[in-house]
């Protein structure tokens, strides 16, 4: 069968439909691209391989992109990979630039998606060979590099780092799982809570608790008059979108898309790390890093180009090694198996038409995502004009449903949402910093596994410096990032002192 025979009206409709459903899933706090793919996976059995993949890839691209909507408008990351979008997205919305921020995010997502698609198309097998040069040691150093963003995101470096380590500590509560090569034993659990905490706290309920519920509690405490809207502003009242905002951002766009792709090709590094690494790099190389976190378009560009860059990257190990790059592509293996197709190092050579169909599907999904979101955004952005007494109960309900369904119906996840909602509300009063906390929480478990496995494998601490040239490059980046953060912190302190 030739590629042109595959690109039928049904094929196109499935991509567009999948992208739309994916955007809806991504835009609802607690619903993710992974969930969208999981829900639709059984349907693909009757669709055939290429049509099934068209649907799933549309869902994947749409789901990752849709996460930016609540991240920017409400400060709640729709998916874990859009967490860094909240840092500048919400401040822009509060300044009345929600629509502009969304358009920046949509354009960046498109570029990030296309960059990763191009890299996937041209170099998938080569990249897979490169990816296997990353052992536990190099993966630990990448996670360590991503963790350095904790310092850069902190208003007060000391408190920020403390908050980050607190996040790591809480993330490690539970079992050192045998599925990670651990010993299956529990740790850090207070007496009497073994039954509840043996699986630890799940990421998404923590995320939406900290960013969603905590904000609602804060607003409730403030007691806002009914007439006011969620963002206290009229949408697009302050500044309108123009493509000139991307002037001077070519490097940021390409670098962030490339970093996202790179994070995707490394199994186990994870989607959240893609946007965190992109954001961290953009801040390190920015001429005005002090503006990050205050509503800086560069931050949204980096975050969204990074997380959409992941989409192509995560397919590299899947299609070249048979190993998924993230949780969503893990489900795609199911689609292949349902059709009796093996994925592994021979997949691309043995299935050229399917491979081409996937590339075409990804391209169309990215374009469909851009078209749908760019032109509908004016209406989507109006969500911030809905009165809070109507909006917040709906958000709360969606958060609870999302938390309950994320791990297929575990009630403790709802309790996690509520606990971390209250924690987030209290943390602000205690001057703890939420952004470094959540980054520590996301990256802590991977850091632990790769650190322990490195030591188990090599039994020597110097291996982190001597393993390979990749390790040396990563150390240079880590030192650069830390030095940049220290310089930024000192400059902030001197500005405060002058004022």
């Amino acid at each position: 069968m030739e590629l042109l025979d595959i690109i039928s009206p049904l094929f196109l409709a499935l991509i567009v439909g999948g992208t739309f459903v994916g955007i809806v899933f991504g835009a609802i706090p607690g619903m993710t691209a992974t969930m969208a793919v999981a829900v639709c996976l059984p349907i693909t059995y009757s669709l055939g391989l290429e049509n099934g993949l068209a649907l799933l890839l549309g869902l994947y691209v749409g789901g990752i992109s849709g996460g930016m909507v609540p991240a920017i408008l409400l400060g709640i990351p729709g998916t874990p990979s859009s967490i860094t979008t909240t840092f500048d997205g919400l401040p822009m919305t509060k300044k009345g630039e929600g629509e502009k921020a969304l358009r920046i995010g949509i354009c960046s997502s498109l570029v990030g998606g296309l960059v990763s698609l191009l890299i996937l198309w041209l170099c998938a097998p080569l990249l897979a060979d490169f990816a296997i040069q990353f052992s536990y040691v190099e993966k630990f150093l990448i996670i360590l590099f991503a963790l350095t963003v904790m310092a850069a995101l902190s208003n007060d470096m000391l408190i920020g780092i403390f908050s980050g380590f607190l996040g790591i500590f809480i993330a490690l509560i539970g079992t050192y799982d045998i599925s990670d090569g651990g010993n299956g034993e529990i740790r850090l659990i207070p007496p009497g809570l073994d039954y509840w905490l043996e699986s630890g706290f799940a990421l998404l309920p923590v995320l939406i608790g900290l960013f969603g519920l905590a904000a609602i509690l804060e607003e409730a405490e403030r007691g806002v008059p009914q007439s006011q809207s969620a963002a206290d502003v009229k949408i697009g009242s302050q500044s309108t979108f123009s493509f000139s905002v991307f002037r001077g951002q070519t490097v940021n766009l390409l670098r962030s898309g490339g970093i996202g792709t790179f994070a995707g090709i490394l199994p186990g590094v994870g989607g959240s790390a893609a946007s965190i690494l992109s954001y961290s790099n953009a801040k390190t190389f920015s001429k005005h890093p002090e503006r990050y976190g205050t509503g800086e378009p560069e931050g949204i560009i980096a975050s969204e180009a990074g997380n959409n860059g992941l989409t192509g990257g995560a397919l590299v190990p899947l299609l070249s090694l048979g190993i998924p790059g993230d949780s969503t592509t893990a489900l795609l293996i199911g689609a292949f198996t349902l059709q009796g197709i093996q994925v592994g190092p021979l997949f691309i050579g043995n299935n050229p038409v399917t491979w081409d169909a996937m590339i075409v599907a990804m391209l169309i999904a990215n374009l469909a995502m851009f078209t749908m979101m760019y032109f509908a955004i004016r209406h989507i952005a109006r969500i911030v004009t809905v009165p809070k007494h109507i909006l917040f109960p709906i958000i709360l309900m969606m958060c609870v449903i999302g938390a309950y369904t994320i791990n297929y119906g575990i009630m403790f996840d709802v309790w996690t949402l509520l606990i971390f909602g209250v924690f987030g509300w209290l943390a602000v009063k205690l001057r703890l910093e939420i952004a470094p906390f959540i980054i520590g929480f996301i990256l802590g478990p991977s850091a632990e596994v790769y650190f322990v496995k490195s030591l188990e494998s090599f039994n020597d601490l110097t291996i982190f410096f001597t393993k390979s040239w990749i390790a040396i490059v990563l150390w240079v980046l880590i030192i650069g990032s830390v030095a940049g953060s220290v310089a930024l912190s000192r400059s902030r302190q001197s500005t405060t002192a002058d004022a």
Binding site: S199, G268, P317, L321, T337, Q342, V343, N407, K453
Partner: protein, 347 residues
């Protein structure tokens, strides 16, 4: 007033008689939890096939939830009405034999239901350029005092073959089992990576995930070679003749017993089939157990489910609850013996 009292009495009597009757059948909405958190893995896939067929046969809704072993056992503990059922595989009792936290004795604490299928893919591989070309080479190396590192995920299906290797080494030459050592890893990706990084000499893998690596040329860092497939030959013989990828069924059989021998006791070979089966709350009504047995018996007699299972490289294997319990108890007893023989040597 009299009417009201009579009415209430009649209602209560009707309810009392209706309740046990209702409890004897599966409810209209059933949650099927599985012991894996992956919705792309073999447990989910096989459970979905069985759930679809069962739901259609009984005219009910069955939703498969990939909650993982710990949460699945908790969900099963909470519900004796038949609203929550579980499907898992040999990990459910191997986890208990290896002393993994959260795994109780399933034969004591739950009702073991019917088996539904086998994944015959459990395998062990070496780099294509390895000095070890076969299991015999590996066991001989251990006998000669060479340290052979085997990458596994500890505490279950991945470890049982490793335990069998150690046991075979012990049978061949007492003490040589200490030269076969575990490299504890996690996912298949991690196990493969240990081979690429030369941190392991042998890895646990599967026919499905690793076959394409065996087709790569020897000078490719990623190339591998099967040395052992643990499935019983009778199981593997039921796989499609074309096998998997470019490896035919006959070629696969070369890596399984009796062609490749990993002895259990000097006479018989060790074999391991990864079997999927139902688990129920021990308090669940016996009538529901029978209802599921009967429904599955009819489904397997119709023959359609076998086609779906074979298309996904599963071997259909329906055994009603009683037979399944006996079969799995026997299997567990064999593996318990293997683990006991080498206990204390798993360094």
């Amino acid at each position: 007033m009299t009417f009201t009292r009579r009415f209430i009495l009649a209602g209560a009597t009707a309810l009392a008689t209706a309740l046990p009757a209702a409890a004897q059948e599966l409810p209209g909405n059933v949650r099927l939890v599985i012991g894996s958190t992956s919705t792309g893995g073999d447990t989910y896939q096989n459970s979905s096939i069985v759930a679809d067929a069962l739901a259609e046969k009984l005219g009910i809704n069955i939703k498969v939830d990939a909650v993982g072993a710990t949460e699945a056992f908790k969900a099963l503990d909470r519900d004796s009405r038949g609203t929550t059922l579980m499907i898992f595989h040999d990990q459910s009792y191997l986890g208990n034999l290896y002393g993994v936290r959260g795994y109780q004795d399933i034969f004591e604490n739950y009702t073991v239901g019917p088996t539904v299928a086998i994944n015959p893919g459990n395998a062990y591989l070496v780099p294509k350029g390895s000095e070890y070309q076969s299991m015999d080479d590996i066991l001989t190396a251990a006998e000669n005092g060479e340290r052979v590192r085997v990458a596994i995920q500890p505490g279950g299906v991945s470890e049982i073959g490793f335990s069998a290797m150690k046991n075979a080494a012990r049978v061949r030459s007492e003490g040589s089992e200490e030269n076969i050592v575990a490299v504890n890893t996690g996912s298949q990706s991690d196990k493969n990576q240990t081979l690429f990084d030369d941190l392991a000499d042998v890895i646990n893998g599967s026919i499905q995930a690793n076959e394409q690596f065996t087709q790569l040329p020897e000078d490719d860092q990623k190339s591998m070679r099967f040395v052992w497939i643990t499935a019983r030959p009778a199981t593997l013989e039921q796989a499609p003749e074309e096998g998997m990828g470019d490896t035919t069924r006959d070629q696969l059989l070369q890596y399984a017993s009796p062609e490749t021998s990993v002895t259990l006791d000097g006479e018989e070979d060790f074999t391991f089939d990864k079997e999927f089966f139902f688990l129920y709350n021990p308090e669940m009504d016996e009538a529901i157990v029978e209802q599921i047995d009967t429904a599955l018996e009819e489904i397997y007699a119709e023959g359609e489910i076998q086609e779906r299972q074979k298309a996904s490289f599963f071997i259909p294997n329906f055994l009603p609850s009683d037979e399944a319990q006996e079969h799995l108890r026997e299997k567990r007893s064999t593996y318990d013996e293997v683990i006991s023989q080498i206990s204390g040597d798993n360094s």
